[in-house]
Symmetry: C2
Subunit: 219 residues, 2 copies
């Protein structure tokens, strides 16, 4: 198909496709004349991945390029390839980390939590992961404001996160190819976040109604 058709099938504008081509995020088409190139299904698939990384994952172009290179490097194991994508995801509401005693104490709490959960914990990898840093900074913020946030409070959250991860990875594994799995992992990680937060808030309201208005269902 030509550029215009690629745009139509992918829902990505031709200007954006040209930008992805220039930045090396999309492989060039097969040149059929001085001004025209032919694109195939592999371009459509790549565009889905690029859209997931850049538009949903809000990754900088250079990071997306690395993730795509890892995705196509058959010498890397599948975990490394998926990990390259999901660990590069920044978190929208990242709490800035501090180098103060509260942050150090929070770091010890988080490490104790991971131990309790039995999660493999490579300190060096962890420190480069936005999720780990955000978790430590959030725990420190809760403590500074005087709210309870120790291993006892965090453990139920960690256990439920582990259950969700099983559900999520099952969905990812339904995708047919490694590239599609990486795309789905990024897209589902990001897109299910507002779902989870909304349901938690609705569940609060439901649980509050159960406790404080006498229990049962509305009449």
């Amino acid at each position: 198909m030509r550029l215009a058709e690629l745009s139509e099938h992918s829902g990505v504008s031709t200007a954006t496709i040209k930008y992805y081509l220039r930045e090396g995020l999309l492989q060039p088409g097969r040149r059929i004349s001085a001004t025209q190139a032919e694109y195939g299904d592999e371009h459509l698939r790549r565009l889905r991945l690029v859209r997931a990384l850049i538009q949903l994952g809000k990754m900088p172009v250079a990071t997306a390029r690395e993730v795509i290179a890892a995705a196509e490097d058959d010498s890397l194991g599948h975990h490394r390839r998926l990990g390259a994508a999901t660990q590069a995801l920044s978190q929208g509401r990242e709490v800035p980390a501090d180098d103060d005693p509260a942050t150090e104490a929070a770091g010890r709490t988080v490490n104790a939590l991971l131990e309790h959960l039995g999660w493999r914990h490579d300190q060096e990898v962890a420190e480069h992961s936005p999720a780990y840093r955000t978790l430590v900074a959030s725990v420190a913020a809760l403590r500074r404001l005087g709210y309870p946030c120790g291993v006892a409070q965090l453990l139920p959250y960690g256990r439920l996160a582990a259950e969700l991860a099983v559900t999520d990875l099952d969905l990812v594994e339904e995708e047919p190819t490694p590239t599609a799995q990486i795309e789905a992992a990024v897209a589902l990680t990001v897109l299910y976040e507002p779902v989870l937060l909304s349901l938690r808030r609705m569940a609060h309201s439901e649980e509050s109604a159960r406790r404080f208005t006498g229990g049962g269902k509305p009449a």
Copy 2:
């Protein structure tokens, strides 16, 4: 205590305290001279609540004023008072709602989900809740991009949200007074969100390692 001491004990600047006084979010102190007033523990408690609503909950001043009025209205039940606060919380990453077929279909999916979960579901209340609207818009966004998001995929999220709500409300109920409970409900709702999202991302990485690198712990 004087204004300067109130600032020191609360960690809120005197300029911000004066702003809260002008906006009627903080009750006036007991006037002891033409230029000085005396503040007490009730002002400290109120400042904690205002900080939770405005700084953590990102509520507009007018909304915070309504929540505070509800918090102090003994004629309202506890659920209504807690609900006034938590339902007024906007969501950071609210997805704009559309009036298209995908949104209508998503609304039907969400209603079926709430039925399955056995959550009391007042359609009229729901439509005014930011959490409900965000959920519908997020489901519609997932569908438009071609990712699976039906009752089957949402149900595990809803069940886990319900379990978390029990844990969260237990924490809230440890607070001694209704006002402190409302403050804790807002603060914990907001501050535990990055904790939950970080743990989910770390759990993805953990689950991916288990599945794709042969299971066990690192050597």
